[in-house]
Symmetry: C2
Subunit: 398 residues, 2 copies
């Protein structure tokens, strides 16, 4: 039989990057490409102890669970959210298979094909895939190092009446940028004025290098879930471990309950072993201390990578020093195509993600996303040497 696929799958751009990265399989490659956390920092022993406690609860722990997610974990997460000025009840929270699933469910319940979504420029690659699959028109809003430019967003809201705005305002992926408080308040105001919900995706917010820095979430500025215009997404993937695949969405209870209906059809519920494990972990493990340890380690790695890049003495390579998160967003010399560079870099044994994929419309091809969390020390040094060799060869050719 020859299978014919749905039109929505045509919309899913095939990824040149994925094809190039496939070439790395089996090779000894130093990768700055993935958004992978540092494995050596995973709290394996605490996770192990947490599962022990789950199993001590008896056989009932292995039964089907609620679509909304394991209630004791939601209750604890609500307390954590409330302590961060995001007051919320378990009825206003849905547990998901990573926060990626929350993006999918939001698109499913709030948009129809042809609807417009506004995003930062550039923005998180995998949100673009979701929006494309739902047949949405993705329009990038002019953005700078302080976030979306509010006037540009307002103009597009008037013109296109978007159904959603999707943002990663704190340590964005790929840029690592942090929105200024003015931009946060500005977008929130627009959202209320034009009735456009904001999806605030915050997987990296806890990974701030300066523990005293304060970047209030848009959800906390809004101050309420019911009737509010912000749907906030959190995740344990960066703070505990990705294998436990647990994220959460909070927002107006009508949206959350509609997302739960959609999730019931999508997969009934996410892993309750994972959810119960995280519940026990939160009860017995000082997670906030652990997050500080990770953030400190990532801050050092970022500094190392930044220093290694500086040492190359390139005059026309630049980046904004990230204050948190997992990525340095590098602007390469004008005219340099980072996809071609990747091909050369992979030949030398190093990988990164060319920036073009993160743009919803016109891509800026001379950009690269460099992950600094997965490698360190001599390995990072060797990786940047290889990267720089590739860049220098390219610059010599230009």
């Amino acid at each position: 039989m020859n299978y014919r696929f749905s039109r929505r799958m045509d919309a899913l751009k095939s990824s040149a990057v994925r094809d190039i990265l496939k070439l790395t399989q089996g090779k000894e490659i130093i990768s700055f490409a993935g958004g992978l956390p540092a494995e050596e920092l995973f709290p394996l022993e605490a996770v192990r102890e947490a599962t022990e406690r789950v199993f001590a609860g008896g056989k009932h722990t292995l039964q089907y669970g609620l679509t909304e997610g394991y209630l004791p974990l939601r209750e604890q997460l609500c307390e954590r959210m409330t302590a961060k000025s995001m007051p919320v009840d378990p009825d206003q929270m849905l547990l998901t298979t990573g926060s990626q699933q929350a993006i999918d469910l939001i698109a499913r319940v709030l948009t129809d094909p042809g609807d417009v979504v506004l995003v930062e420029n550039p923005t998180y690659l995998a949100c673009l895939q979701v929006f494309q699959l739902y047949g949405m028109r993705v329009i990038p809003v002019e953005s700078d190092k302080d976030g979306m430019i509010v006037e540009a967003a307002e103009k597009l809201m008037k013109e296109h009446k978007p159904k959603l705005v999707y943002i990663v305002p704190t340590f964005g992926n790929p840029t690592g940028r942090v929105w200024s408080i003015e931009r946060r308040k500005g977008l929130l105001e627009l959202s209320r004025k034009y009735g456009v919900p904001i999806v605030e995706d915050d997987p990296y917010g806890d990974i701030r290098f300066d523990p005293k820095a304060d970047y209030p979430t848009l959800f906390s500025l809004e101050g309420k879930a019911d009737g509010g215009s912000v749907i906030y997404l959190g995740s344990f993937s960066k703070t505990v471990a990705p294998a436990l695949r647990t994220g959460w969405a909070i927002g107006d209870r009508s949206v959350i309950s509609m997302m739960a209906k959609a999730k019931q059809a999508a997969d009934l519920h996410s892993s309750t072993l994972d959810q119960q494990t995280l519940d026990q972990l939160l009860r017995h493990f000082p997670l906030d201390d652990h997050i500080r340890r990770i953030a400190t380690a990532y801050g050092s790695r970022m500094q190392q990578m930044q220093q290694l890049l500086r040492q190359q003495g390139w005059s026309d390579v630049s980046w904004v020093e990230p204050q948190g998160g997992m990525f340095i967003w590098v602007e390469l010399p004008e005219g340099l195509d980072a996809e071609a560079l990747l091909r050369a870099a992979v030949g030398k044994g190093v990988a990164f993600v060319p920036g073009a994929s993160f743009f919803a419309a016109e891509p800026q091809r001379n950009t690269a996303r460099m992950n600094f969390t997965y490698t360190e020390g001599e390995r990072m040094k060797l990786g940047i040497e290889r990267f720089s060799e590739a860049v220098n060869e390219f610059m010599a050719r230009c």
Copy 2:
């Protein structure tokens, strides 16, 4: 903000049954409603040991995984499938969050709004929800105790050119029916002739009361994944435990790789802790012996429920004795509305699922799905007494 929801969510029928069953929360209710496995039979100790072995593998076990699923588990599952005359490679298999997610992904990659899907009459409730959400037209095919009537299916294929046929041919939900070999072969032939892929959902196939009984899957009759017309879905929810939320889809590699693309947008990947745990479980735990124990226990419970129902001496209540699975499908006296009966039954402290929800079109309202796996002994006896009280009161009124 007032949220406006997508048109696809309008299509999702609100469930009267769910509303009635909500009334049971907090009450002492004996439930024959859920499709819940017997908790006391869960292999908790084996699962615990399996996670220990996973954690012994070191911190890498907590990292991000492949969208396609943990390769060693796919390899083992392929061996199990091949041993059951379903030869398949890891590239022809996708691990999912329960087999429910596989249904969602299949609809996503193979259908467009308005496309027709053929289903048994009655059929699995949650597949109807998925198909409705994707804007599909669901057309039930006349079916009897031996499965779909092939001539009726052919007539509808000619008329509607469906994109899919969805079936549960072995111990179907809700009816418990087993398709005859002729019907299996007949549908397979139609599927090839008209180019309509078959989704063979098989969560209960292993739960056969007679260990010597042989019900070949349509996938095994087809004998191949690539170029074949059957996409087969399996699940560990009934044989190991639902909390581990792991199912799998096998089929033509073009379909599987398209489903993986869609899954990447949907949730990146399912829980790898669960997948690694199941991998270790399969290596060290005699799963097939365990499945025999479950099937034997469920067979006894089915006999107990059947006997209790017979003892009521109803002349116009009937059912076909199931050969496996988890449900007895009861036909109540004509004119009796099982939804009204449920309301009365819940008042007496017992619940079941009225059959109407399982029909894609004209419902047969005098039907009830009774689960026999979750309760046993005195509790089952008390439950059937309460049920029978409700039925008798209704029959007296008619």
